[in-house]
């Protein structure tokens, strides 16, 4: 396919032009092969060793995986991830789509609203974690304020409740990324050919049907992109939990990412930590590989 071969006659310059692209690409590729795939292999290796505080090279077979699956802790983390990821992805997508559609209606002040929706993505949770923690805390936050304002029976103590705390993580996570998802949908909406919409309106389609039947199907690529981004953010979520609940109350909001960090770096059980990392990577691969495969094959066609 190389465009250079179009030219007849092989001189050194043409040959250089042939090799040059690959030459320029190779440093990036080498970096990624080594720093990503090499390190993944190393982690897989560590998961089969009895590494504790620092990496060790004593092979222990599947012992770490057995320990891992025997920990009730790990099961909690996985169950939490299932709840967190599904809610987070669905809510972010819904809010993002809604805001994008609304913002697309020739809204006055869009220039002001858009950065307001977007800015949470710019802040790290080291920054906003404390503010959220306070806001959600019934003693000093929303509940207290509402009661001070006279709504005596107002109750909002989810962050202190074992069964509800995970939902507060969802709230904060949605706050952080839904505006970003909005931007993606907005870009998608702005790309839709207005002629199609006008034609449909002339045919008498109601606004609701217009969106349901025409616009939303046209946004399919944006949906897919949003899904991939949100699912990988969900699996990687770490700062959020640490800043908000530290995994508590008890262990009620532990996620695989916090589990992995704590076993690798604070509990000196690096082998177990590495095995949990391998499971995480496998999960990511299970989501991403089919997606990438489908996407890239389509492109090539």
């Amino acid at each position: 396919m190389a465009v250079a071969t179009v030219r007849p006659g092989v001189d050194w310059r043409t040959r250089l032009q042939d090799v040059l692209p690959k030459l320029v690409l190779s440093p990036s590729l080498a970096l990624i092969l080594f720093f990503v795939y090499g390190f993944i292999l190393y982690t897989v290796f560590l998961s089969f060793t009895n590494s504790r505080m620092l990496p060790s090279h004593d092979w222990v077979g599947l012992a770490n995986y057995r320990t891992l699956w025997g920990l009730s802790h790990w099961h909690t983390a996985l169950a939490n991830l299932a709840i967190f990821a599904s809610l987070y992805i669905v809510i972010c997508t819904a809010i993002g789509l809604m805001l994008a559609i609304f913002l697309d209606q020739k809204i006055r002040g869009e220039g002001v609203l858009r950065p307001i929706y977007l800015y949470p993505m710019a802040l790290s949770f080291i920054v906003t974690g404390t503010a959220w923690k306070w806001f959600l805390d019934p003693g000093i936050g929303l509940e207290n304020t509402m009661r001070l304002w006279g709504w005596e029976t107002f109750t909002f103590g989810w962050i202190k409740d074992r069964d509800m705390a995970i939902y507060t993580i969802v709230i904060a996570a949605v706050w952080q990324t839904s505006g970003f998802v909005m931007a993606m949908f907005l870009a998608g909406l702005r790309g839709i050919d207005n002629e199609i919409l006008k034609a449909a309106q002339i045919d008498g389609a109601s606004t609701w049907n217009l969106y349901r039947r025409i616009v939303i199907p046209l946004l399919r690529p944006a949906f897919l992109s949003a899904f991939v981004i949100l699912s990988h953010l969900a699996i990687k979520s770490y700062d959020l939990v640490i800043a908000l609940t530290g995994g508590g109350p008890g262990r009620a909001t532990e996620l695989p990412a916090t589990f992995m960090y704590s076993y690798t770096f604070t509990r000196n059980q690096m082998g177990v930590g590495a095995s949990s990392a391998v499971i995480m990577l496998m999960t990511i691969a299970a989501i991403m590989v089919p997606y990438l495969y489908a996407e890239l094959r389509e492109r090539d066609r």
Partner: protein, 419 residues
């Protein structure tokens, strides 16, 4: 040939130059997590003392999670083959790093200054590995303290300092009846474990504490006494406000300081918060040992572990730093700010407040009596993996997931699984 000789000469010159510069003293690089105003300023005393001896100080603070972030950074540094000179460390971490062969040796300075005689033996167990000094202890915190707001107690009619567990419960009840929060507590695993330190010690006494947390004897861990200790935790749970979960310890201290709550069970670092709120320890804020633990002290000690550094000059600076850490001047300057007590028992208590004086006397007495015990909650009784496994159970029980009998059973399982 000629060129070679010129080269050699140049090299020699260059080396000489480096040596001359190093005579000033190689700078020490210090990894620590003392970043809040008071404690960082206290550490600055050490920096200045070294500066006077011509030794520079490369500061490398990494705060977060009681040193967790710093320990992660340390692992990266050591793996990179570039360890800092000295690292703030707690308990078993020091021994673990020594076992990895990463630490240096302070025997010369320790011998010259007679550390063996003045540092309590229970603390030496962490500062020494296979008989060699590897770390210089900066302070001794103790965890079995109760802090109480004198005014709140008076209002509730509590006039006597509780001596036994039952008296303590009665006092808590009295404060609760007076409409205040009886026990200020922050629901984080380590805070619950801190209370558990005191409760276990009070329930079973020093020998039981040692058997359960230091020797990790399954019989002690699963015993009736342990069930009773959990029962006492459940008792305390009744005196905590509904909003305790996730609260930072210093906000709990603030509740005691501003009179919302009567008591807090917390290590002596809480004292700084009270002093900051304008209260005088021993007068406005009462300090006493968790009832039933008088005579014993559960401690944790911040130490500077000295890493194995390559050059002779760096080692000299390291020794100078260790010597300065152990000097009475620094121990007093640092510990009066930090709320802890000096790591050596031969220092005058003149500069300390009432609670500090009591802490120093208690430490010396406990060390004498053999009841100076490493704090489980702060990693001085057992290694990190075991400690965290115990945290899991204590927190789960405190949050109502287990009853006391189940908790004791789970404790045995969890400790076994972590070993």
């Amino acid at each position: 040939m000629r060129t070679t000789r010129t080269w050699t000469a140049a090299m020699a010159l260059a080396c000489a130059g480096t040596l001359a510069a190093a005579q000033e003293g190689a700078p020490v690089e210090v990894l620590h997590w003392w970043t809040s105003g008071g404690e960082a300023a206290a550490l600055n005393v050490l920096k200045e003392a070294l500066g006077e001896q011509g030794i520079g100080w490369n500061d490398m603070p990494v705060a977060g999670g009681g040193g967790e972030a710093a320990m992660t950074a340390l692992r990266a540094r050591v793996t990179a083959g570039n360890p800092p000179t000295a690292v703030q460390m707690l308990g078993f971490d020091i021994q673990d790093w020594a076992a990895e062969g990463a630490l240096g040796n302070l025997n010369d300075v320790a011998e010259a200054e007679g550390w063996d005689e003045v540092v309590p033996e229970a603390i030496q167990e962490f500062s020494k590995y296979e008989g060699n000094w590897i770390a210089a202890p900066v302070n001794v915190h103790s965890t079995n303290w109760v802090w109480a707001n004198a005014a709140v107690l008076e209002e509730a009619g509590v006039t006597e300092q509780p001596e036994t567990w039952d008296e303590f419960i009665a006092a808590l009840q009295a404060v609760q009846d007076s409409g205040k929060i009886a026990l200020a507590h922050g629901g984080q695993a380590w805070q619950e474990a801190t209370i558990f330190d005191g409760v276990v010690l009070s329930t079973g006494g020093p020998d039981f504490y040692r058997a359960a947390f230091i020797d990790l004897d399954p019989e002690a861990l699963g015993s009736e006494t342990m069930v009773e200790a959990f029962d006492r935790m459940a008792q305390l749970r009744e005196f905590v406000d509904p909003n305790f979960s996730g609260r930072d310890w210093n906000l709990a201290s603030a509740m005691v300081a501003n009179g919302e709550a009567g008591f807090q069970i917390m290590g002596d670092w809480a004292k700084g918060e009270f002093i900051n709120a304008g209260l005088t320890p021993g007068e406005d804020i009462l300090c006493f040992r968790v009832p039933g633990t008088e005579g014993a002290v559960t401690f944790n000690s911040d130490q500077f572990a000295m890493f194995d550094v390559a050059s002779e000059e760096a080692r000299a600076s390291q020794a100078a730093m260790a010597s300065n850490i152990m000097s009475p001047e620094f121990q007093i300057a640092f510990n009066t700010v930090k709320g802890s007590v000096p790591a050596r028992t031969d220092i005058s208590d003149e500069a300390f407040d009432a609670c500090g004086k009591k802490g120093m006397a208690d430490l010396a007495a406990a060390s004498e009596a053999g009841t100076l015990l490493g704090s489980m909650a702060h990693g001085h009784a057992n290694p990190a993996a075991v400690k965290n496994a115990i945290y899991d159970v204590v927190t789960a029980h405190f949050n109502g997931e287990y009853d006391s009998a189940t908790a004791a059973e789970e404790l045995v399982n969890a400790v076994e699984a972590a070993m």
